[in-house]
């Protein structure tokens, strides 16, 4: 098709299968192709590494499942910073695992002392109640890795009245509204919940025609299909980087049934938050 300026541009196909891809698939796959494909799949595999602390506290876990009653998942740096400042600050949590993955956008680090600019995906358990699991996912999980991530994480849990809470952010320009997105009072929170989730939701539900994609959508889909009560709190923001206003937009979630009991001391939170954002600015500066 020709654009306004007269150049010929191939329109992206909504068909989902490019003609080149289809032509490539029609050719017989040589042993070398198969080997390359296998190597690439192996490189993109998602691995979850659980520490021995998990088995020590629950007494039994090696490759077996561990009981889980609450799973709190933060996806993206703002949601992760929120949980770090308001929930993990109480000092009652212990790091018990991490996800090792690689894709074109990131490679996760294995250490537990991480900077906001690092790519990581770490699991923490509550010392006083080891069935409460928290995950800080500060890395990009590619489309072809999301299902694997999901099956491996949930595959390790033995659900005991499991309730799942997911926190995530996305650009306000993705939000569909009859008015312009420029007039919206961002950041703002919207929620989506599965059929089994019966608790009160801390903000308005996300109305059609809006949808959610990516890892939050993968987790929520899993919970809807397998009838697990789950809620996603999505913060629409106009700031891409780590930002205190966006992080604080998640505050209403602290009054939810699943998080209320986990928040101990809010007085230190603002300080921790300021430190996180400042550290991020320093490390993001190209001159350091």
């Amino acid at each position: 098709m020709a654009t306004f300026f007269g150049e010929v541009v191939a329109a992206p196909s909504r068909a989902g299968v490019d003609d080149e891809e289809e032509a490539a698939a029609e050719r017989e796959e040589t042993p070398e192709d198969r080997e390359i494909r296998r190597e690439l799949e192996k490189k993109r595999e998602v691995h979850i590494l659980w520490s021995s602390k998990l088995s020590a506290s629950t007494g039994s876990f090696t490759d077996e499942q561990f009981p889980c009653s609450k799973f709190i998942l933060a996806i993206g740096h703002n949601a992760v910073a929120f949980l770090t400042s308001f929930v993990l600050n109480s000092g009652c949590w212990e790091a018990v695992g991490s996800v090792k993955l690689w894709n074109e956008w990131c490679r996760t680090s294995n250490t537990t002392s991480v900077l906001p600019t690092d790519a990581f995906c770490l699991f923490y358990k509550l010392i006083s109640d080891p069935t409460v699991l928290l995950c800080q996912c500060n890395c990009y999980v590619a489309e072809d890795q999301q299902f694997q991530w999901l099956e491996k994480v949930f595959g390790c849990m033995r659900e005991e009245d499991l309730q799942v809470t997911i926190l995530s952010t996305c650009p306000v320009t993705d939000y569909k509204t009859p008015e312009s997105t420029l007039t919206l009072p961002s950041p703002f929170l919207k929620a989506l919940k599965t059929k089994e989730f019966k608790e009160i939701v801390c903000c308005p539900l996300l109305e059609q025609p809006n949808i959610v994609q990516g890892l939050p959508a993968a987790v929520l889909s899993y919970c809807q299909v397998w009838q697990i009560p789950a809620v996603l709190y999505q913060c629409y923001t106009d700031v891409i980087k780590l930002d205190t206003v966006t992080i604080e937009a998640f505050k209403p979630v602290l009054s939810s049934k699943n998080l209320k009991s986990l928040v101990k001391d809010m007085s230190k939170s603002t300080e921790i938050l300021k430190k996180l954002v400042t550290t991020n600015e320093i490390h993001n500066n190209i001159y350091t």
Partner: protein, 266 residues
Amino acid sequence: MFVPCGSSAAPDFEGFTLLLPAVSVGNVGQLAVDLVIFTLGMPKVGYFYTDCLVPMVGNNPYATAEENSTELSINAEVYSLPSKKLVVLQIRSPFVKNKYRSFCQTLLSWVKSSRCAKVILLSSSHAYQRDDQQLHGTPLRYLLSPAIQKTAGDLMQRLNWKEMEKVAAYPGVNDADMVLRIPGGGITTLLFNESCSNGIQMAVLVKFCSEGDNIPDALALVNYLNEWLQLIKSEQNSDVPATPSQWKIPHSWRLLFGSGLPPALY
């Protein structure tokens, strides 16, 4: 895999017609399926849980009132209307890279295990790839697998439908080898060829179109389908095909081209 909603037993689809879209140019098949589900008020009976489609969730796209607007929907769901022996699979997102073949296999094995009588695939193809002959006349085409030729072949003649033309495999070089090509049709050709090889009764309905506002294309395709299945009848005269206004547009079709514009632009 098919996972039924709730804790009730899996529904029985034996003898049903399975209707599904191909993710194709203009998303015409998917839009047409939306019209069928919403107009007939088909209830959701299950999910097609797969790692082959990009994940996506949203609230009920077919909500009619406050009460049913908060039911979560995922990327592939199954709806059923036993009174019309119709089961519909709606697909709402594109394939994960290199997973489309795997999806075809999973889908066809579900078709076989659920013992559906026939499968109707709604699809579309790039209008700009039409040859000189195809530029004239109707932009709608059909295809029948050998297994369904016996039962539906005569009806296609009576309806005066046009079969999808084959094209030369090597145009200009050798015009003897003719193959089926549906550019922009996504997995249509693959699914059709696999159905032919496996004795599955499959019909494909295709509309030539371009990317843009594809609502008129969806209405044309769903009316084409209705000529065969008679899902809705025209109010005045049952011989006259249903007018576009009798298909109900779901609220999820709002804002198809994005949010409102900033007033400061003007």
